[in-house]
């Protein structure tokens, strides 16, 4: 198997491939930025599970967070970084290559 720079399989990302992390990336890629509670609701994840996956993505530099106050409560907004966006789309390209699309 070739692993040259144009090989889509080079984009396969083990960190993103975890099902819930891929779903987090898919939602952030579409919405641009989303509030933690919206991610939780849309993905059906518990706060601790989402925190764990978001933390891994933040640690990898794929996701960044912003804190904003609304109704006197602090809300966390998450968004993909350019690096995360590239990694996510690279991963999708690898999956499409596996499928043969």
């Amino acid at each position: 198997m070739s692993t040259g720079p144009t090989d889509p399989m080079a984009g396969f990302d083990h960190l993103i491939h975890a099902p819930n992390r891929l779903r987090v990336c898919a939602l952030l890629d579409t919405t641009g930025e989303a509030e933690f509670a919206v991610l939780q609701k849309q993905l059906g994840l518990s706060p601790s599970a989402l925190s764990k996956h978001a933390g891994a993505l933040i640690e990898a530099g794929y996701v960044e967070q912003r804190k904003a106050v609304r109704d006197t409560r602090q809300r966390v907004w998450l968004r993909l970084t350019p690096q995360g966006n590239k990694a996510y789309h690279g991963h999708l390209a690898a999956l499409r290559a596996i499928v043969g699309q």
Binding site: D13, L15, I16, A18, P19, L27, V38, L43, R96
Partner: protein, 170 residues
């Protein structure tokens, strides 16, 4: 790929069926997230937008008329500037409230291109074209046409997004 994360899980490469299922799940998430991004404006702002686009061709026509038309040109300029400033202020307010209500960023690139591209091209022509036609012909009917057509487009798009949002969240 190196991710920089601390010891990410290593997954065996998925089979073709697994990869297809993963892509389908990503597509499903994208569809439900698009529904959030297609949340229509609140009715008060859709009304404001409609009133603004209906007023614009008339005021612009008055401003660019060869001769004084109904009001002095300075009055048309002041009306155009003040309504635009008020519209922008209300847009900022509506955008903020929209973001808080939906919990996602306000972006237009997830909306169907078959709707946004004609709107981006057609609306400026509809807002400004009648003023130039009025200037050339002296027929105020062009301004009335521009006002009614722009208002109809605004209402039509609002209803289209209400329908799109309802369909994607159903």
């Amino acid at each position: 790929m190196e991710t920089g994360a601390s010891a990410p899980d290593r997954y065996p490469l998925p089979t073709s069926d697994e990869a297809r299922a993963t892509l389908a799940e990503a597509a499903r998430i994208r569809t439900s997230a698009t529904a959030l991004s297609a949340t229509p404006w609140p009715t008060w702002f859709a009304t404001t937008l409609t009133a603004y686009v209906a007023f614009f061709p008339v005021a612009y026509g008055g401003l660019f008329a060869d001769d004084r038309w109904l009001l002095p040109k300075a009055a048309w300029a002041a009306a155009l500037l003040s309504t635009t400033a008020a519209y922008l202020a209300l847009f900022a307010l509506a955008a903020r409230s929209w973001r808080q209500r939906t919990g996602v960023a306000l972006r237009f690139d997830v909306l169907p291109k078959r709707a946004t591209v004609p709107l981006a091209i057609g609306m400026p022509a509809l807002l400004m074209g009648p003023a130039w036609a009025f200037r050339a012909t002296g027929q105020a009917g062009w301004l009335a046409f521009g006002a009614v057509a722009a208002a109809a487009v605004s209402v039509g798009f609002h209803l289209a997004f209400v329908r799109l949002h309802g369909k994607t969240t159903a």
